[in-house]
Symmetry: C2
């Protein structure tokens, strides 16, 4: 047993959490799992993970808990709820939260755990399902530097790049910045394609001309192609980007920062999520722009 081998528990075994858990196990750590829906456990049990019957039992069996769930209340339930980390774990226990959730609540939770001697890192990721499967996610970490150094061997299992951006909540703030830039880029590229079409210009030629210049972005390259093809398999789902933009706008409000561009882009994503396109890639906002312009 290597000195770096740790007992790691994972909660949240969805399209991100499942491949990430397997990478942690393949990295030489002892993987423990629990899930509300026992059927989520099967593929990982087959791969050799230790399944538990309750969250409490999981927490008592590991040194480190990784959470990879949908939204702020889910994380809060696991950390501060009955039979959760704060009630169950001992001093010296550590939590890594890979979810994308509210930065302000993240700080509150980190402080609540610190009272019990429990360490916490907010470590949201970008790179989507493809990055999770490849183990090349970009990880934005908030928390104490020594805690990151202790847990780096675990996070390394899923990461292409780890950036320590500051203290508790800083990872979530950085992820919010990422999501608001991507959202506004989606709107901008949607509008450019729509203007090109209305002006009788082949939007593929427009995109090609722009890729070489100052308008270049990953979104123009990757999502621009999806918009031209009008094909939106995710990628990153609209309902999740919509949820993340809710976090961005709420955090901005709590911090007294008006985000006018991000708020507008959030409306686009919310609209498409509610109009039945939530399971498609968030490049689908281009279809809202086409509808606005009478182009669909």
């Amino acid at each position: 047993m290597s000195e770096n081998r740790m007992k790691v528990g994972c909660v949240g075994l969805g399209i991100m959490g499942r491949p990430m858990s397997l990478h942690v196990q393949n990295g030489g750590h002892e993987l423990h799992i629990w899930a509300r829906r026992p059927e989520s456990l099967e593929p990982l049990k087959a791969a050799g993970a230790n399944a538990h019957n309750s969250l409490t039992e999981l927490i008592q069996s590991v040194d480190v808990l990784i959470t990879n769930v949908s939204d702020t209340p889910d994380v809060e339930q696991i950390l501060l709820g009955p039979s959760g980390v704060k009630e169950t774990a001992s001093s010296g226990f550590t939590v890594i939260d890979h979810s994308t959730i509210c930065p302000v609540r993240t700080r509150y939770m980190a402080e609540a755990l610190a009272e019990m001697g429990i360490d916490f890192l907010d470590a949201p990721v970008s790179g989507g399902e493809a990055g999770a499967i490849a183990g090349t996610l970009t990880v934005m970490v908030g928390g104490k530097a020594p805690v990151l150094e202790k847990l780096r061997p675990i996070i390394d299992c899923v990461a292409g790049k780890i950036t320590h951006v500051g203290d508790h909540g800083a990872g979530q703030i950085t992820k919010a910045c990422n999501q608001l830039i991507v959202a506004q880029s989606l709107v901008a590229v949607s509008e450019a394609i729509s203007l090109a079409e209305a002006g009788g210009v082949d939007p593929a030629a427009m995109r090609e001309a722009l890729l070489g210049g100052l308008a270049y972005s990953k979104v123009l390259e990757v999502h621009g192609q999806r918009m031209l093809d009008r094909a939106y398999p995710p990628g990153f789902k609209t309902r999740l980007h919509s949820k993340d933009m809710g976090i961005v706008v709420q955090a901005a409000q709590q911090l007294g920062v008006p985000l006018m561009g991000a708020s507008l882009a959030a409306q686009w994503l919310h609209t498409m999520a509610e109009q039945g396109r939530g399971e498609e890639d968030s490049a689908v906002v281009a279809e809202l722009q086409r509808k606005l312009a009478g182009q669909s």
Copy 2:
């Protein structure tokens, strides 16, 4: 005298037009110039250009006229005004317009010149003063393919990349797409930096974390650094980006395309241009966001 050597007139000898004219002359063409303000002619006369006393005399001395001026009425005056191209030039004459102007008026002017057998290319550029000096501009060309092929040896003198995007006006539409994407990217990056600062995150660390992922854009890289440094030497001047966004919004209106994101970004640029920041790089919109957030 090579077969490709042409007599080329240039009007508009400003920060873009002057280096571009010199590249045309260095490319082996015979350079002719005229300017409203004769002092603009001096540096080019010193370099061997043939200076003329009137626009009419210039037009009568060349086969091809290049325009590189500020706005739609300036181009219209040169092409369709008294003693301009339509009145003076013969069938077979050609105009290349490198200015950024209204796409709809561009089509009208191209048609008016076509009646006289005069060819026209709209060929707006991106890459700024640095690209003009290096001769590596991205050129977006609208017009007839055979006309572009005839004039390619001239445009090649200033271009790193030439893309033929469609018929008359398509170059201007594509430039409008470029400007609206860059403008919205400026707003998005401004907001991200502001949110990071408000959230207690070092915005330089945030930018560094994001550069490796899906939020990557040239604007995050180039203008993001200017915003962090709070130093805004142009680059591309706010008053010109503001003018271009006026063209974008007007073209969108004429084409029946609502551009909500671009309209918002236009307001940011207009505001900074009118608040005395017009000569600074358009990354200066970050200072408006800081002011909104109470961070200046």
